[in-house]
């Protein structure tokens, strides 16, 4: 789960990482109140999960109520790379002497945690990574050992952090590591991490991605849910506990297993079609899950044909077939369904479908055959 900046800052606060005081606003009126509470000059920041919002006009410095009003009116509803701004974060403007960068993530190559620190923080850090990679210092951390304050201090020194900020940066690094590990974040990043003229070091931004698998030990994450940027289809799928990603094509895809689902997208593409979505039923999917999947796909009016690709392992094909029969008795499908069943109990599954004699359901034996048939159906529809 990706957190918005304001949520990331709330999460940082749990680990004593210093940030500027501020608040959220969903309307122009709230924005003015929050700006007054924070004290002028204040910064009004768009809350979207996409980079480049500053360049898109999503961050404004305001000196009085009138400016706060104008900024909020401009930014709320602003479309930043397809993300429409619905919420603002407003905080007291910080005086900035220097901008640094700090992050923790997993280095899958080394199978160790990785700290990255740079004295060249700010909007162009990704460019720095390309043009001046030496400016970003890296330290691998074995999870058994963790990172000590002394190691953090050494890392900050090697990255060229100013003398007066060294202790502050080292302190933030130790706390950010705790946020990353104890907080079960896949990514904990501060850009920029600033030094103020008063010699204080604090986080001006927060980018946190939480590891959904660790939700069982973080009841506090509940507060972050319900405000994510899912579209309507994705929200419905989430309610049904399906692994779904909306795309723009015309072939609705249902498969069991992420690999097979990705492969199904590939094959549809190779035979000239486009996928409307990625949908992985997961392992051991029964009739109820299949039924939910068809329901979700059916809400997508871009879909002209549904392709169900199942290779039974834990998942049993007879259960899948029952799910299709069940679903079709309650849901009126808007488009035909092409089904490929293989693996555990495939013969039983195919028999259940054949016996039910369902209208608009086509059974194919192979993955490629099923993809071709699905794309033919789309093409026939287009030529009508």
């Amino acid at each position: 789960m990706d957190l918005f900046e304001y949520q990331g800052k709330q999460y940082f606060a749990r680990y004593d990482i210093p940030t500027s005081p501020g608040g959220v606003a969903d309307s122009v009126g709230e924005a003015i109140e929050q700006a007054k509470a924070a004290g002028f000059p204040a910064v009004v920041k768009a809350q979207v999960q996409v980079g480049g919002r500053g360049k898109a006009g999503g961050i404004r410095l305001v000196n009085n109520e009138q400016e706060a009003k104008e900024a909020a009116e401009f930014i709320l509803g602003l479309d930043i790379k397809g993300h429409v701004v619905k919420r603002l974060w407003i905080e007291h403007a910080s005086d900035i002497k220097k901008e640094y960068y700090a992050s923790f993530t997993l280095d899958r190559n080394a199978k160790l945690h990785l700290a990255m620190v740079s004295a060249k923080g700010g909007v162009d850090i990704e460019e720095v990574a390309v043009t001046d990679p030496e400016a970003i210092k890296r330290l691998h951390i074995n999870p058994i050992d963790g990172i000590s304050y002394d190691q953090a201090l050494e890392l900050a020194k090697s990255a060229g952090i100013d003398q007066e900020a060294l202790e502050g940066v080292a302190d933030v690094l130790v706390k950010l590591y705790e946020c990353y590990t104890l907080g079960d974040a896949d990514l904990a990043e501060i850009n920029p991490l600033i030094l103020t003229p008063q010699g204080k070091v604090h986080a001006l931004d927060a980018k946190v991605t939480l590891d959904d698998a660790a939700a069982f030990r973080h009841p506090e994450w509940e507060a972050f849910r319900g405000v994510s940027e899912l579209d309507g289809r994705e929200r419905l799928a989430k309610e049904k506990h399906l692994n779904y990603i909306g795309l723009d094509g015309s072939v609705g895809i249902i498969a069991n297993g992420a690999g097979l689902a990705m492969s199904t997208l590939d094959v549809v593409n190779q035979v000239g079609g486009t996928a409307a979505n990625f949908l992985d039923l997961g392992g051991g999917a029964g009739a109820d899950v299949m039924s939910a999947a068809l329901e979700v796909i059916n809400t997508d009016d871009r879909v002209e044909v549904v392709l169900v690709n199942i290779f039974g392992g834990i998942t049993r094909c007879d259960e899948v077939a029952k799910g299709i029969v069940d679903a079709l008795s309650s849901v009126e499908m808007r488009s035909p369904i092409v089904i490929r069943l293989d693996g555990t109990n495939a013969d039983e599954g195919r028999k259940i479908l054949a016996d039910a004699d369902l209208r608009g359901v086509i059974i194919e034996k192979t993955m490629i055959g099923a993809a071709k048939r699905a794309v033919e159906i789309v093409d026939e529809g287009a030529s009508k």
């Binding site: 058994i144 297993g257 690999g259 996928a275 290779f311 693996g343």
Partner: protein
């Protein structure tokens, strides 16, 4: 021959009294795998359809001489279960558990690497290992495999592992061993581990490798193949059409920047002399042709 397991491998099932553990443990036993015991704390002394249950892995090893463990427990208990097996001297651990937090995975991997270098972990979040006719540890359906070789299979995705077995078996081409390494961020066993073992195995004549987007294990495998593998390798990488930046199910399958894209992986593998197929069926067809020409 087979890699990592054979007909003499003695297996215990950690979590055998749970519904999944019982179902798959007994299914593995029915396949012919030497399932010699199970472990569930507090249930020692009982049995699951004739398979004795022990309180700890240590007790199970002492009583049965088990050398391998099949872990089927929920995510919050899996890390401890893996380390318990390693501490009891188990040399080969298969963990199918899905949704283990990445921090726990990284910790377990590094504890194994530092304290139990002789222990191999397969997974987590993998379908397991199957050597047709000899040993099946995991959730793969044994009846889609064909004994006798000569192909070794290694795959990240579970369902694509079954697809790979099926493509070959339908065309009468058997397998020596089929290894599902799983798609999590910190897998215990990698493509390279399997490629090295298949290269050493005299009965394996060619390797079918199914990868997917995310991470850089396929690129590393390509470099390894170029230097160390003399046997023909056929590959398919899932996710060519996956939109960048989207997380498609596997925690590992995250595309960031230009790294880890299907295109980058396919190019690296082709450059290493690997036959790169566009879909699983094509990969199977290429492999059948190679086996015919051996």
């Amino acid at each position: 021959m087979s890699i990592f397991v054979d007909e003499n491998t003695k297996v215990i099932v950690q979590g055998i009294t749970g519904s999944q553990g019982k179902f798959h443990g007994l299914r593995n036993k029915a396949y012919g795998t030497k399932v010699v015991g199970g472990v569930t704390p507090g249930k020692g002394g009982t049995d699951v359809e004739g398979v004795p249950v022990f309180d700890s892995v240590q007790d199970a090893v002492a009583a049965t001489g088990a050398t391998a463990s099949f872990i089927v427990v929920p995510p919050r208990f899996a890390p401890e279960a893996i380390l318990e097996a390693a501490a009891a001297g188990i040399g080969f651990i298969v963990c199918i558990t899905e949704y283990i937090p990445a921090k726990d995975e990284a910790m377990v991997f590094n504890v194994l690497r530092r304290n139990y270098p002789g222990t191999r972990l397969l997974g987590p979040n993998c379908p397991g290992i199957l050597s047709p006719g000899k040993c099946n540890i995991g959730i793969t359906s044994g009846d889609i495999a064909l004994a006798g070789g000569p192909v070794g299979i290694v795959s990240r995705s579970g369902t694509l592992t079954y697809q790979a077995l099926n493509e070959l078996s339908l065309k009468g081409v058997g397998q020596t061993t089929c290894v599902g390494i799983g798609g999590d961020p910190v897998p215990g066993t990698t493509f390279i581990d399997c490629l090295a073992a298949f290269e050493q195995d005299p009965e394996t004549k060619a390797v079918l490798m199914f990868g997917e987007i995310g991470g850089s294990d396929e690129e590393k495998a390509a470099a390894f193949i170029k230097e160390n593998v003399t046997k023909p390798v056929v590959t398919y990488i899932a996710g060519v059409t996956a939109p960048p930046g989207k997380k498609m199910g596997h925690a590992g399958a995250i595309v960031s920047g230009g790294m880890g894209t299907a295109q980058a992986k396919m190019e690296a593998l082709a450059e290493a002399g690997v036959h790169v197929a566009r879909n699983p069926t094509e990969a199977g067809e290429i492999m059948v042709d190679i086996v015919k020409g051996l």
